[in-house]
């Protein structure tokens, strides 16, 4: 949700994704649903970085999969450049596939082990048409260099590269089709600490140079905050708070956001923190509490919270919260 002039590149409207849980041997009875996503609205505009934070069970990975068309939403619309994805014809789909790319968490399984790096980089482009050897070579060199790697790497196999280098290859591949939106799913979690910031810097540089939009999914609030202009906090399949990064840190409204921020570890031993302790365990998306899904753990839960499930509404300027207060 950004200022009015910007056209959203991708818009999610009330996306729901329920996974049926079946029991029984002969005739599968549906005994319940895992409600991975339960009504998510999100807009991603051009040239901005939106961070998505949440703990396990929040649904953030499922959201990424839906945007990447790896899953179909049970309900809701995914709109790209004004058109609902369901109405796409072959060429719309092709274009979507070129414009939306992804970088995943594990650099070791993101690259096909039997292909050379140059083939990996050229892969998304080869899907739409043949390229000559020279074209593949040139393309690989170009994008490898943009990703901060030596062009000579294009002829090696992934197993000869380190984690950081592989992730750079994955990034090079993601930008090779002139994509406008890149979904980043925990892009640095599996990397060495000293390499993480390198990759983050690379991503930010590319974002500015190429005018990309990122949807950054992470569990490390500090890293997501470093990279993003907007942050959405998810809990059990819904966005509970969404606002600009600085605002979120200075003035978190939702109790869950506040708990998350207070739970993050300090940067200095002297940093005195007032800790909000949350009761209970991370909730299970199979068994979502009634009313506000956060109420069993919320230190400020009141009577209404057992019954009413709040929706995401603007509370302050550019600051949306889903809470009964």
């Amino acid at each position: 949700m950004t200022s009015e002039e910007k056209i959203p590149a991708i818009e999610l409207q009330q996306i729901k994704k329920y996974f049926p849980v079946k029991k029984g041997i002969i005739r599968d009875r549906v005994v319940g649903y895992v409600k991975a996503l339960d009504g998510v609205d999100l807009k991603l505009s051009a040239n901005e970085v939106v961070g998505l934070v949440g703990e396990s069970g929040s649904g953030k990975s499922t959201l990424a999969r839906i945007i990447l068309l790896l899953e179909h939403p049970t309900e809701g619309q995914l709109v790209f450049e004004g058109k609902d994805v369901i109405t796409f014809n072959r060429s719309d789909l092709k274009r979507y596939r070129q414009k939306i790319q992804a970088v995943f968490q594990d650099p070791y399984s993101s690259l096909s082990p039997r292909l050379k790096v140059k083939e990996i980089i050229a892969e998304p482009s080869l899907v739409t048409g043949k390229l000559s050897r020279k074209e593949i070579d040139d393309m690989a060199s170009e994008y490898l260099q943009m990703a901060g790697l030596h062009a000579g790497i294009r002829n090696v196999y992934p197993h000869e590269l380190s984690g950081g280098q592989r992730q750079r290859v994955a990034i090079g591949r993601a930008i090779s089709t002139q994509a406008t939106v890149i979904i980043l799913d925990e892009p640095t979690s599996a990397l060495d600490v000293s390499v993480r910031l390198q990759i983050v810097e690379l991503l930010m540089r590319l974002q500015q140079e190429l005018g990309l939009s990122y949807l950054l999914i992470g569990h490390d609030l500090a890293m997501v905050a470093y990279m993003s202009t907007y942050i959405a906090v998810m809990y059990l399949g819904k966005i509970v708070e969404l606002t600009r990064t600085q605002e979120l840190i200075k003035n978190p409204l939702h109790p869950y956001t506040r708990a998350l921020i207070s739970a993050s570890l300090p940067s200095h031993p002297n940093e005195k923190k007032e800790r909000i302790a949350l009761a209970g365990e991370i909730a299970n998306p199979f068994d979502i509490p009634s009313g506000c899904r956060f109420h069993p753990r919320c230190p400020e839960a009141k009577e209404e919270c057992y019954h009413i499930d709040p929706i995401l509404k603007p509370f302050l300027e550019n600051h949306w919260v889903a809470c009964n207060f």
């Binding site: 380190s162 600490v193 000293s194 910031l197 500090a222 708990a259 993050s264 940067s267 002297n270 991370i282």
Partner: protein, 339 residues
């Protein structure tokens, strides 16, 4: 190193090497290369460094549970005054769990999926303390309550996969505590846990330490854990200790360039200003750069750094650093100015 309190663990010049095959040659990986350290009883100490710096190997060497490809070549490991490297298998068996326990990163790997958790906690108690029947059961319940797991009676009969990640890690903690060890080593204990659960877990460890006075040794790359929990920090790089100091010194006035770079590169919620990454890649332990192993990535490296390994220099009674920048002779000849 606190002069007053006696160190519970003292490692002297430990060297552990691995032999690996890579493609067509046999290579020696110098995982731990002449490491010395001391941990005071009751203290909370962190060994930090990125993956491959040797910190995990160091922990495994102390417990002497290294894989076949590794061997301890030299050094002493003094626990409570006795050299662990001189102990035989039976003696070491007793020491593990009863004196030194370890918590690992992934609870699913630490717990056996086909046994109930009551069984797994009980196993340690059975073999090490010889508890049986009612005493055993009561002790298991006690331990579960100690790690804040409610309804221990019913939980005891559950299997690991029936519990959440945070709970499993607490079970691992319970197993570690079961025989009242004097030292608990925790290797990245919270990496796989969600943020809010991580906090619960660290608080738990802190409470347990207050209660039992156990010494905690954290092995981690996460500076947040260091800031939250630890009093002393030992920084490792490429198999060597490059700096050791009280935690305040590390954060306020880091000496070694690597420590400084780690701090600069760490994300913090309160400070979203631009950061500068450490250049280069973590080193290949079988093919280390000559001289100071950090020099190719060091902002301040001088001529001598690529030729000779720096000595360990004491900056104060409880601080040392392994860097040419602090050697008085080098400072004069290279006209080093202070940071």
């Amino acid at each position: 190193m606190g002069m007053q309190a006696k160190p519970i663990l003292e490692v002297e010049n430990l060297t552990t090497y691995f032999s690996v095959f890579d493609g067509f040659e046999k290579k020696t990986v110098k995982a731990v290369d002449g490491v010395s350290l001391a941990v005071t009883a009751g203290d909370t100490v962190a060994i930090i460094g990125e993956s491959g710096c040797g910190k995990s190997t160091l922990a495994l060497s102390i417990l002497r549970v290294l894989p076949e490809t590794a061997s301890i070549l030299s050094g002493k490991i003094l626990f409570d005054g006795e050299d662990l490297l001189q102990k035989d298998r039976t003696q070491m068996s007793k020491i593990r769990a009863e004196k030194i326990a370890m918590i690992l990163q992934d609870p699913m790997m630490s717990l056996n999926p086909v046994f109930t958790i009551g069984n797994q906690i009980g196993e340690t108690l059975y073999y090490h303390l010889g508890l049986r029947n009612r005493t055993l059961k009561n002790r298991i319940k006690e331990l579960l309550l100690d790690v804040k797991i409610p309804e221990p009676e019913s939980r005891m009969k559950q299997y690991p996969h029936e519990m959440s990640g945070g709970m499993r890690q607490r079970i691992v903690g319970a197993i570690a505590l079961s025989c009242n060890p004097k030292l608990i080593m925790a290797d990245e204990p919270t990496t796989n846990l969600d943020v809010t659960i991580q906090l619960q877990y660290l608080n738990l460890l802190r409470d347990l330490q207050k209660k039992t006075g156990v010494t905690l040794l954290f092995i981690t790359h996460d500076l947040g854990i260091v800031a939250e929990m630890c009093k002393r920090v030992i920084v490792m790089y490429a198999g060597k200790v490059v700096e050791r100091a009280p935690v305040m010194n590390i954060y306020d006035d880091p000496a070694h360039p690597y420590t400084r770079a780690l701090l600069d590169a760490a994300f913090g919620l309160q400070d979203l200003s631009k950061r500068s990454p450490i250049k280069g890649e973590p080193p290949d332990l079988s093919n280390l750069p000559p001289g100071c192993h950090y020099h190719p990535r060091c902002e301040r490296h001088m001529g001598i750094c690529s030729q000779e390994e720096p000595p360990e220099i004491a900056l104060s009674p409880d601080r040392t650093v392994k860097c040419w920048l602090f050697d008085p002779e080098t400072r004069k000849s290279e006209l080093v100015d202070d940071f």
